[in-house]
């Protein structure tokens, strides 16, 4: 494996591989075991076949007739759940560097890609900063190392880019991983997404920095994207005002997502030490809110 071991340590790679194996091994059974946390799967599209029941599957999808014939609990699968494209938009702007947000984003992108590809989906990863757009398609059959290498090679730079590729289909499914720092520009981008009726999920990996906890004193405040800076004398009054402004910005962000029908997920990613200490299984990861939501989003029509 040539991927950065710092970005994708063994513990994470181990989780990733287990998730991939579970998603691919045993066909539907394995996948179902991973998706036990999925509370609802949309039954839309043509019948594709059966897979073994796993705890957590919706009882309404159990094919009781097949159970009567074979005596084994199986659930129905539909065409829409497999072989569909899903686009992951990864914000690569400089602001993503703060608080290792970009690392968390890339790990999330790797996990999502592995799970969905293992399930049979084709994941199109798009990373863009400024005019530099990089794209990688990951699907079942490709080595996961290629995915990790591609993610490791990404670097943050520049400002937020227009992350809406022009070749997206009108009904494309999107997962948009970003810090959504520029709320003022958010509405314009959401308007463009909404205009093509795409279903989108916005994921904000939350880091400690979002709370902007500061000490009193003088420091240089620098805009990480533009490099401009100013001298700031921080005091209690400024910190309180800053919290108010941050809350106000978060409210505006949620309001914007809600107004444009985009589901917004603020995700608290586990740290690597935490992952290693718990020796978590893929289910621990996948049982997290992120994967749950992603799988639900990915399965939704």
């Amino acid at each position: 494996m040539t991927a950065s071991r710092e970005l994708f340590p063994d513990a994470f790679v181990g989780v990733l591989r287990r998730a991939l194996v579970l998603a691919t091994r045993g066909g539907a059974g394995a996948a179902d075991s991973m998706r036990h946390a999925t509370s609802r799967v949309a039954e839309v599209g043509g019948f594709a076949g059966h897979r073994g029941y796993v705890p957590g599957d919706d009882a309404r999808r159990v094919d009781w007739s097949a159970y009567a014939r074979s005596g084994e609990l199986v659930v129905k699968t539909f065409e829409d759940e497999r072989g569909r494209d899903l686009t992951v938009l990864l914000d690569q702007s400089a602001s993503m560097e703060l608080g290792f947000r970009f690392d968390h984003s890339r790990r999330a992108a790797a996990l999502v890609s592995a799970v969905l590809a293992g399930r049979g989906d084709r994941v199109r990863l798009i990373a863009q900063n400024g005019d530099d757009l990089r794209e990688f398609t990951y699907a079942k059959g490709r080595r996961i190392d290629e995915l990790l290498d591609w993610l490791s090679a990404l670097t943050v730079r520049g400002t937020d880019a227009d992350l809406v590729p022009s070749d997206l289909g009108r009904r494309a499914r999107l997962i948009w991983i970003s810090d959504f720092a520029e709320v003022d520009q958010l509405e314009d981008r959401l308007r463009r997404l909404g205009g093509v009726r795409r279903r989108a999920l916005a994921v904000l990996p939350r880091v400690e920095l979002d709370r902007e906890i500061l000490e009193d004193g003088v420091f240089v405040l620098q805009d990480v994207e533009t490099g401009r800076n100013t001298r700031v004398r921080a005091d209690r009054r400024l910190r309180e005002q800053l919290r108010v402004e941050l809350r106000r910005q978060a409210a505006r962000r949620r309001e914007a997502f809600g107004r444009f029908g985009v589901r917004f997920l603020e995700w608290d990613p586990p740290s690597i030490p935490e992952l290693e200490g718990r020796r978590s299984s893929a289910a621990d990861w996948l049982g997290g809110r992120l994967v749950t939501t992603i799988l639900r989003h990915g399965s939704a029509r």
Binding site: L98, G217, V218, L221, D223, R231, R233, Q241, L242, E245
Partner: protein
């Protein structure tokens, strides 16, 4: 703005250091944010941070004020002299009339008083009055103008005022003022008040000489005059007014030098003599050189005594009588009152003024004449009596001893064995003495003898009269009269007043000025107070 200790302004070099020290330390911490706009909105509620430049400006101004106060800043300070030296040219040329009814020195004094109005009346003033000598008065400015000597004019100024002014200029604490006329040279370092006129007539008697025409009854007066017009074409003929007993009988004018100077010779019938005053017409404001006066003596006595029995002396006496119209006199020499005594041989008690003697012994000399030819070696060809005479053929058969003449006599004819003819002259008169009798020589037969005799008698008679020199004069000083072209300051008319040249004025005294130390310190305190109140 002046500084008593400008070197203390070097403290201002500390300002850059103050600027560095006033800069806020650069924050060691930095914080990167993705929410720049959020921060900007949050920072709006914060009070605007203090402006270091304004705070430094207040500090720098306060420091500047303290530095200026330390350097002894003053305003209105003026470098200059603290006392006065006034050099007054009291020569006659300064005393002319400045304008009708105004005395020049009075005008100068009033103008000087006006020019020095900025000076305190208590200013020490050294009044240097220059005439034939120098008078120095140490006084106060207020009292200086009341000095009577200030306006007392003298005959001339023999003091080099320029040198005096230059010497005074060495004292930087004193201001030099020269008061005079354009004749007075003034160094550039001194202020001056001098008269000048653009239109003037300059006239004066530069020299005067009088000649006695005896035996004629006339005298001749020769004057060198100066007559110049400057800036005017006014026609005013040059005339001479004559006052006195002698009667003018003729006048002759002739040019001397250029167009400005001319000579005038006037002839007078002396009569019985008396005072003669000649005055140049046309007041030019400098009266001193406009007149000259002579005392013409009475005519000499007109008798001649011949002592001797030789044919030669009788012929000589007859010639003299005929030539000069003299009368023969009889009796002793003392009682005769003769103007000329012709003596040939014999013995006298002493030499008598007016005597022309030939081979005459004095009473103390008992020696006899010496036989043997006395050769004439030479004669004084430059002497007025002998000029142009040829005496080379003169022979003397016998003569007196070589030391017959008194000590101090001037030798006119020199023989091989001593003087043959001497002249004697003292305050009492003149006399001529020959070492030989006329009959012992061939002198009286020479062609030159009548001319010699005529000259000798005239010389003897004129030697008895007082010299005809000016007895009184306003000024007979050529350099003083001519001076510089503008020196004669005389207005031609009331419409052309004299111009008074003032150079080097205003002459301001030293002023210590007003110190700004206290106001600057107060200003510095106020600035520092304002800075401390500044957020």
């Amino acid at each position: 703005m002046d500084f008593e200790a400008p070197q203390r302004l070097l403290a201002l070099l500390v300002l850059p250091l103050l600027w560095l020290l006033s800069l806020r330390p650069k924050p060691r911490r930095s914080f990167q944010t993705a929410h720049w706009n959020v921060w900007q909105r949050a920072l709006r509620v914060q009070t605007r941070p203090p402006r270091p430049r304004l705070r430094f400006l207040l500090l720098a101004l306060a420091f500047l004020a303290v530095s200026l106060a330390s350097a002894g800043t003053t305003i209105g300070r003026r470098e200059g002299p603290s006392r006065l030296i006034v050099l007054v040219d009291r020569s006659a040329s300064t005393g002319r009339v400045a304008s009708p009814g105004n005395d020049a020195m009075q005008v100068l004094r009033n103008r000087l008083r006006d020019e020095l109005r900025d000076w305190s009346g208590e200013t020490n003033l050294r009044l240097v009055l220059c005439g034939e000598g120098v008078e120095v008065e140490e006084t106060k400015l207020d009292l200086a103008f009341e000095q009577p000597a200030f306006t007392t004019l003298l005959q001339g100024c023999e003091v080099d005022l320029e040198a005096l002014a230059k010497a005074g200029s060495a004292d930087s604490s004193a201001a030099i003022v020269v008061v005079g006329d354009e004749q007075t040279s003034v160094p550039p370092s001194a202020a001056s008040l001098r008269f000048r006129s653009s239109q003037t007539i300059r006239r004066g008697i530069l020299s005067a000489r009088c000649e006695d025409d005896w035996p004629l009854s006339t005298i001749r007066v020769r004057l060198d005059l100066f007559d110049e017009r400057i800036g005017t074409n006014a026609e005013e003929p040059l005339t001479l007014a004559v006052q006195g007993a002698p009667r003018q009988i003729g006048v002759e004018a002739f040019p001397i030098e250029g167009d400005l100077e001319r000579g005038v010779e006037l002839t007078f019938e002396r009569g019985s003599g008396g005072r003669l005053r000649l005055t140049l017409n046309g007041e030019d404001g400098f009266e001193a050189d406009d007149w000259v006066e002579f005392v013409v003596p009475a005519p000499p006595r007109r008798r001649v005594v011949a002592l001797g029995d030789s044919e030669a002396i009788e012929d000589a006496a007859g010639f003299v009588r005929d030539l000069f119209g003299l009368e023969a006199s009889e009796g002793s020499v003392a009682a005769s009152g003769a103007a000329v005594v012709l003596a040939d041989g014999g013995r006298f008690d002493s030499w008598t003024p007016g005597m022309l003697s030939f081979g005459v012994h004095t009473a103390a000399d008992t020696r006899s004449v010496e036989d043997g030819e006395a050769f004439l070696v030479d004669w004084d060809r430059e002497h007025p009596l002998l000029q142009g005479l040829d005496l080379s053929e003169m022979r003397v058969r016998r003569r007196l001893p070589r030391d017959f003449a008194p000590d101090g006599a001037q030798v006119l004819l020199r023989g091989r064995d001593g003087p043959l003819l001497v002249s004697w002259e003292d305050d009492g008169g003149r006399s001529l003495h020959a070492a030989f009798r006329l009959e012992d020589s061939n002198l009286w037969r020479l062609p030159a003898f009548p001319r010699l005799l005529r000259r000798a008698v005239r010389w003897l008679i004129l030697g008895q009269a007082a010299p005809l020199e000016p007895s009184a004069t306003g000024l007979l000083n050529r350099s003083e009269s001519l001076g510089f072209p503008e020196r004669r300051i005389s207005p031609v008319s009331q419409e052309d007043p004299t111009e008074l040249l003032a150079a080097g004025f205003p002459l301001l005294p030293a002023d210590p000025g007003r110190s700004l130390a206290a106001p600057l310190v107060v200003l510095a305190i106020l600035l520092l107070g304002l800075r401390s109140l500044w957020p």
